[in-house]
Subunit: 490 residues, 2 copies
C-alpha cells in the first residue's frame, strides 16, 4: 500500500543476503539441486518481555523486497570479484526470475511462538536466498509493533506518540520502526518521512533549542504562540519547570486567550513526572486552563507509564522514544527460517532440524494454521497447525491436544476455524494487496480484543495454545525417532 505521496525510497535490497546464501546457491546449482522444490518456515520461539503474544508486522516491506528482487550487472561483477562463484551460477543469478510461492500471516494479527508466520515454497536457490531479508523484515517490525502494543495498552486511552528516530538503530530502524509502532497502537510519529511514506499522522512541537535561542523563556513562548496560536503547546523544562516554565506558559496562555485563541498545553521532558504533572495540572486548572494537555516524554516505557499512572500523575498523552524504537528491554526478535520439507517426484518429504534443546526442534512439513475461536464469545482458543492437506470441518467435533503431554485434550463443539495465512505470492507473482497502515492498526486492535484477558495480561500471561494436528505430530515424532534410533547406539 503506497502513500498518496511518491516516496523515493524504493530500494533494491537484493544484495542484502548473508554470503552463505550465495555460496549455498552456488553449490545447489553445481550439485544439480538448484531447482529442487523446497519449503522454508519463518517462525519465532518466544514472546519478548514475557508478554502473551506478538503483533505481526512487516509483510508489506517483504512484498516490496520480493517485487524488486533482481541482480544487476554491478552486483554480478562484485560477486565475481569475491572469487567464490562459478560463472554458471553468476549467469543463473543475472537471468533468474523469482518464482516462489509465499504465504504469510497478515499484519496486525496477534501471533505466537512456533507457528510459521511466513512459508516459502520454491526452487532451493531462490528460497534460500530470501532468508536474511525475510528475517530482518519480519523480526524488526514484529519486535517494534509488539513493544508498541505493550506500551499503548498500559497507556489506556491516552495517545502515545512515537518520538524515537534519533535513537533508532539506523535510518530504517527509525522509518520502519515508526510504521511498526503505529501498527502496534501509537497514534502518531515524529518521523516526517515515515508520515509521508505510510500516510500516518505526524506530530511534534518544540525543542529546548527553541527556548534557548531567545533571550528569555517568556519571549520564546510568546514567539511560539504567534507562530502557532491554535496549536500552542510549549516545552516548560528548559530552565526550571515550576519556577520558570509553568508561570511563563500560564502568562502566554492568558495572552493567547485575550487574542481569542485557546492554548493546547505543555510538555515536560525531565524530572519527577508524578510530582511535576500534579503540580502543573493544579496550576493550569487554577489559572483557568483545565482543558490544556500535559504531554510527557522522558525515557518512558510500559513500566514507567504504569507506575506514574498508578501514582496519580496527571498526563494526557505520552511521547515515547528510545525505549520503544529500539525495544530496549529486549531488542532482539529471534525469528528463524528453517527448511521443513523438500519435494521429490512430486511428493512432499518433511525434513527436521534436531537440537539438544527441545524448543529448537523444527515442525516438519508443509503446513497451514487455523485459529480456533469460541463461537459464542468470539475469543481465540488456540492455533492449530495442520498439514496443508488437512481441512477442518466446523460441523464436527474438534479435539485439541498438548503436543508434549499428549493425554491432555480438549474437545470443542461450538467453534469457528479461520485460516490464519494468506498467499502473497503465487509462482513469483504478487497476489495480495496490503491494507493501509492505519487500517492495519485498526485491525490489530480488533484482533487483540479477540484474545482472552488471560493472554493479554501484562505479567505472567496465560500461554496461548499452539497445537499440532495428529498428522503433523506423527510426522515429527517419526523423524525424531528415526534419528534417535540412529544415534542412540553410538
Amino acid at each position: 500500500m503506497k502513500s498518496r505521496f511518491d516516496v523515493r525510497n524504493d530500494r533494491d535490497l537484493t544484495m542484502l543476503v548473508d554470503f552463505y546464501e550465495l555460496t549455498m546457491g552456488n553449490s545447489y546449482l553445481s550439485e544439480g539441486v538448484g531447482d529442487q522444490i523446497v519449503y522454508f518456515d519463518m517462525y519465532f520461539r518466544r514472546v519478548p518481555d514475557g508478554g502473551g503474544y506478538c503483533i505481526m508486522a512487516g509483510v508489506d516491506q517483504l512484498i516490496e523486497y520480493l517485487e524488486n528482487l533482481r541482480f544487476t550487472e554491478e552486483d554480478i561483477n562484485y560477486l565475481r570479484s569475491t572469487k567464490s562463484f562459478s560463472e554458471k551460477f553468476l549467469d543463473y543469478l543475472s537471468t533468474f526470475r523469482f518464482s516462489c510461492d509465499v504465504w504469510a500471516i497478515p499484519e496486525g494479527y496477534p501471533v505466537f511462538p512456533n507457528e510459521p508466520l511466513v512459508t516459502v515454497r520454491g526452487p532451493a536457490i531462490q528460497a534460500q536466498l530470501l532468508e536474511t531479508m525475510i528475517l530482518v523484515t519480519i523480526n524488526h517490525q514484529t519486535l517494534i509493533a509488539t513493544k508498541a502494543n505493550r506500551i499503548c495498552r498500559v497507556a489506556g486511552n491516552r495517545p502515545v506518540m512515537e518520538f524515537g528516530s534519533r535513537r533508532a538503530q539506523g535510518y530504517d530502524g527509525a522509518i520502519y520502526g515508526a510504521r511498526a509502532a503505529v501498527i502496534g497502537g501509537c497514534s502518531a510519529t515524529a518521523n516526517t518521512l515515515a508520515g509521508m511514506m505510510f500516510d500516518i499522522p505526524v506530530s511534534g512541537t518544540m525543542a529546548h533549542s527553541w527556548v534557548q535561542l531567545f533571550d528569555s523563556e517568556l519571549e520564546a513562548f510568546r514567539a511560539w504562540a504567534r507562530a502557532y496560536p491554535d496549536q500552542c503547546l510549549v516545552l516548560i523544562d528548559t530552565y526550571n519547570v515550576l519556577k520558570s516554565g509553568l508561570p511563563n506558559a500560564i502568562q502566554v496562555f492568558k495572552e493567547l486567550r485575550e487574542q481569542g485563541h485557546e492554548p493546547m498545553g505543555i510538555r515536560i521532558d525531565s524530572g519527577d513526572i508524578t510530582y511535576l504533572t500534579r503540580k502543573v495540572r493544579k496550576a493550569l486548572d487554577e489559572a483557568g486552563f483545565p482543558d490544556t494537555m500535559i504531554v510527557i516524554s522522558n525515557s518512558l516505557d510500559e513500566h514507567i507509564i504504569k507506575d506514574v499512572l498508578v501514582e496519580g500523575a496527571k498526563i494526557n498523552s505520552f511521547g515515547v522514544g528510545e525505549r520503544l524504537i529500539t525495544a530496549r528491554s529486549e531488542p532482539v526478535f529471534g525469528g528463524v527460517y528453517k527448511l521443513v520439507a523438500v519435494e521429490k517426484d512430486g511428493k512432499i518429504i518433511p525434513r527436521i532440524k534436531i537440537s539438544e534443546n527441545e524448543e529448537k526442534i523444527t515442525n516438519p512439513g508443509f503446513k497451514k494454521i487455523y485459529r480456533i475461536y469460541d463461537k459464542d464469545a468470539d475469543k481465540a482458543i488456540a492455533d492449530l497447525i495442520c498439514d496443508e492437506s488437512e481441512t477442518i470441518d466446523e460441523s464436527k467435533m474438534l479435539t485439541l491436544f498438548d503436543p508434549v503431554f499428549t493425554w491432555k485434550k480438549k474437545k470443542l463443539k461450538r467453534y469457528k476455524a479461520e485460516l490464519l495465512r494468506k498467499q502473497i505470492f503465487k509462482d513469483g507473482k504478487l497476489c495480495y494487496k496490503s491494507p493501509s497502515v492505519m487500517d492495519i492498526r485498526q485491525f490489530a486492535q480488533e484482533q487483540v480484543q479477540r484474545q482472552w484477558a488471560e493472554v493479554l495480561r501484562f505479567e505472567n500471561p496465560h500461554n496461548y495454545f499452539v497445537d499440532l494436528s495428529w498428522k503433523v505430530w506423527n510426522e515429527k515424532h517419526n523423524l525424531l525417532n528415526r534419528y534417535s534410533d540412529e544415534f542412540s547406539g553410538k
Copy 2:
C-alpha cells in the same frame, strides 16, 4: 569513500526529520530569526556497558546525508498537506542551499562523554533541521562500533565475524551496523551488500538447510567438499555434533585430502561450546587435522567469549550475531544535540540548558577539543575542551583541573596537544575526505593503543578525564549562577 562498486543505495533522507524541526523552522522564519547563526553540539553522556570509551563512527554517512540535503516538490506537497507551514517557509525549503559549517571527530577515535563529537554552525533553520539525522547516524554507528570493539578485544587475536543481519533492527541496522562492526574490529561481515558498499571482507559457509536438503549429512558434506574443495568448512550440529557431524566431517576431510585438498574446518552453532570444542579439537587433531579451524556462532557476546576462553574452549574464530548487531545489552546510544551558542552582531553568545540532573547541563559556547598525550609514553592523558579562540602552546606548562572538584589539579610539562576534530563542511561545502572503512578500522586499533590500560579495562575502567579550560568553565558557571540567582528567590 565510495566502494569500487557502484552502489544503488544513495538515499535522499532529507525528510528524516522530527516534525518539530520543521515547525520550529517555520516559526524561526516567521519570527525573523531563521538566518540567525547558531551553534549546536552533538555529544553523549555515558559509555554503554560500563566501558571506558566509545569508538566514533558514522561520519561518512553524515557527509552523504548533508551532500544530498534538498527538498523535492513532492516533499513540499506533503508538508503543505499537513497544514502546519506557511507558504513562505515552504518556499524557503524548496530553494534553500545548505550553508552550515560542520566539525566532527574523525571515525575510529576513542571518544568520551560530554565532548562535542559534532558541532554545527549555521542559520537557525538549517542547523535545527539536521538534529535527527546527525543523532541517528552517529548514535547508531558509534553504538555498534563500540560494542564490536569490546567483543573483539576479548576475542584477542581470534578473528570475529559479524553475522547478525537477520536480527538487526531494519535494513540499515544490518548494513551500517556491519560497517560499524568492522570499524570496531570485526574482520568480516556476512552481509553481502555491506561488503559491496564499503569494500569490506565478506564471509560465510553453510546453513543447517544445506545439510537438511540432502538425504544424509554425509552426503551433504561430500557435496559441499565438491563445491568448495579448498574452503571446506562444514556445519556439524544439524543432528548431533559428536555422534554425527564430527565423524562425518572427519570422513569427508580424509576423502578431501586423498584428492589433494586440505579441509578448512568446522562450525558449531549450538550446545555447550567449551565441552564440544574440546572434544572436537581432540578428535580432529587425532584424525590428522590439527590445522583445521573451529568456528563458533551461538548467541555470543563479550561475556560468553571471555568465559569460554577462560574455561579452555578450543576456538579459532567467532561468528557474532544478534548481540553485536543490536548491542543487545545496551541498545540505546544516548547522544544529544543541543544549542550551545547564538551569534548576535558578530559576537558569539553562549547558551545553556539547565537540569536538576547535573550531568544533563550543557557546556555552553563554541568550543574545540585537544587530546593531551604524554610525550614520552604517547598515551592519552585527558581531553581538554577549550573555547574556539584558545590555543595551547606546547612549550608552556599546561594545568588541567577537575571540573567539579576544581582544586584537584594536574600540571603537565612534557605533553603533546592534538586537535581532535576536523572541519568537514565549510559554508555548506564538503572539505574532508573520509578514509576507507578498512583504514578507519586500522586507525581505531592504533588509537585504542594510545589509551592507558586502565581506560581499556573491561570492568570498572578508569574514568578518562574530559576537562574544561578555565574560560569554558567560567562561561558555564556564570550562566549557571545567573539562572540560580533568578530562580532561587522564587
